[in-house]
Amino acid sequence: MVETVKHDPRSKFPPVDATSGKSVYNLQSGKYMKVWQGPQHPGITGNMSLELTVCGDEVIDCKTHVGYLHRGFEKLMERRRYIQCFPLVCRICVPEPDFNEYLFAEGAEELAGIEIPEKARWYRALTLEMARLASFLMWIGGQAAAFGMGTIGQWTVTMRDYVLDLFEELSGGRIYHMYIIPGGVRADLPAGFALRVEQTLAQIGKVLDDVELALMYNAVFKKRAMGLGVITPSMVDEYGITGPNARGSGIQRDIRKDNPYLVYDQLEFSIVTETGGDAYARTWVRLRETRQSIDLIRQMLEKMPTSGPFFQKLPNVLHWKIPAGQTYKKAECTRGEYGFFMVSDGTELPRRIYVRGPSYTHAVTLMEKLAINVNIADTAGLMVSLHTYPPEIER
């Protein structure tokens, strides 16, 4: 017999063990039931599962399970030369792999003391912003589909495909681009690329108008998303929340502004915030940031240099020894702070590369807290509203 803290028998919540702090419930009682959501994409965010304990149709306990996508990237990288790590890193995050490429390249360059040409900095920023745009478009589709509005998802996923077409033209790859490489970028922009980017952006802008009308003022969406998964400002630091999840609670933080990297200090934009803190506020933040990405890409195409080198020659990369040292590089991806902690011991192989994905905190600790008291039908919507992506948890 476990000793529990004081408990009201009329409560739907089970008693809590005084020692471990865990809920104590009898599944045989008929009052509670366990439901597994996932691991097959509980809301298109990747393979992870939620072990939900429900009372009626309300979640009273949630435990997350990850590990379905563990490929041991960090371990593999300890046994590979720096250039051999490069094709691995982009695979840590499918929707926006460019952040991995950029941070890995930036970390290696900083440790090796390599300066990249100005043009490469603009090209890198352009690629990152295009990746953000593609990721946001996919996310809008997921968020709408989680609440039964699959048509909106089809619109935005189509638009994402047009962005992927641009990536294909730029790098040869639709998903994994491997365009940003240590020393700069792999190729110059193709002739007429800026024009085709502008055509795609104009098309996306029109669809976003439709999405805003169909989604944000939709009574069903408002009813289900408002008040769902409320993040209070005090929770932001407590749970290590970054990105749109923090900005949806009124916290003005954006690495592109606070610690500008690449060319973001030469661009005009403001930090998008909302004050609701719920799934609806987060949707507004992401929708407005999608428009902001379009604007930033236009600014970059206008301001970027048209001549000059885009690559700084490296030493023989097969025997590239990076001086001993350690660094942490970070950037603002669509989900929040993405970072690479790199340690070199002066040999040809990295000593340690640690990947800090924003989903690590959002999808595990935060999700377990926010899922309590949520209707079982809304858990997928809640999870998508946190914009989590499991491979960056498991690395």
Binding site: G67, E78, D237, E238, E337, F341, R352, Y360, T361, T365
Partner: protein, 181 residues
């Protein structure tokens, strides 16, 4: 109660606000293991390093140590500070920081599984995180050989033959010239 040594560290922290590199906004400091949590608590509560960015370990097998790295961020000064603590590789135990940041428990759970570092009192520490049912040595330790593990665990499918690519293509493409090779 803080020990005399911990009090001294806290005083040192009070006296010298860590100044990060102006260009990168990043600095690393080394702290003794028994003073680390007091130091980090002070960083969080007094010096504004309120955001735990990540918490991980580096294995220096040749020195028989793990170097724990707590990366904290100060939003006001926009600086990252890496607090590094060396602990012995064997019988590894470290004080938990889950009371400072709830999500630190997840990092500690992973460190227990991947490096075998114990954090007494951390919630759900022994629940499997990524590796379900793993019984071998913690795989992020340097002595864990991924190649040996895969050779012992997995095997080539029967029925498949490996060819020397050059010879095989010659045979396929130019069978009539086989005598001239």
């Amino acid at each position: 109660m803080a020990t005399e040594r911990q009090e001294r560290t806290i005083q040192e922290v009070k006296d010298s606000d860590p100044v990060c590199d102006a260009q990168t906004g990043l600095k690393f400091v080394h702290v003794e293991a028994d003073q680390a949590v007091a130091y980090i608590t002070r960083l969080r509560d007094v010096q504004g390093y309120t955001h735990l960015v990540f918490f991980t370990a580096i294995d220096y097998i040749e020195d028989s140590i793990f170097r724990l790295t707590y990366m904290v961020h100060n939003y006001a000064s926009r600086q990252d500070l890496g607090v590094q603590v060396d602990i012995p590789r064997h019988g590894t135990t470290m004080e938990s920081i889950h009371h400072l940041w709830p999500h630190a428990a997840t990092y500690q759970r992973e460190l227990k599984e991947m490096f075998g570092i114990d954090f007494p009192g951390s919630p759900g520490l022994d629940d499997s995180f990524i590796l379900e049912g793993w019984t071998g040595i913690p795989p992020m330790r340097r002595e864990f050989d991924t190649k040996l593990y895969s050779e012992q665990t997995y095997f080539p499918r029967p029925g498949r033959v490996t060819h020397d690519t050059t010879a095989y293509m010659k045979e396929k493409l130019y069978p009539s010239e086989a005598e001239t090779w």
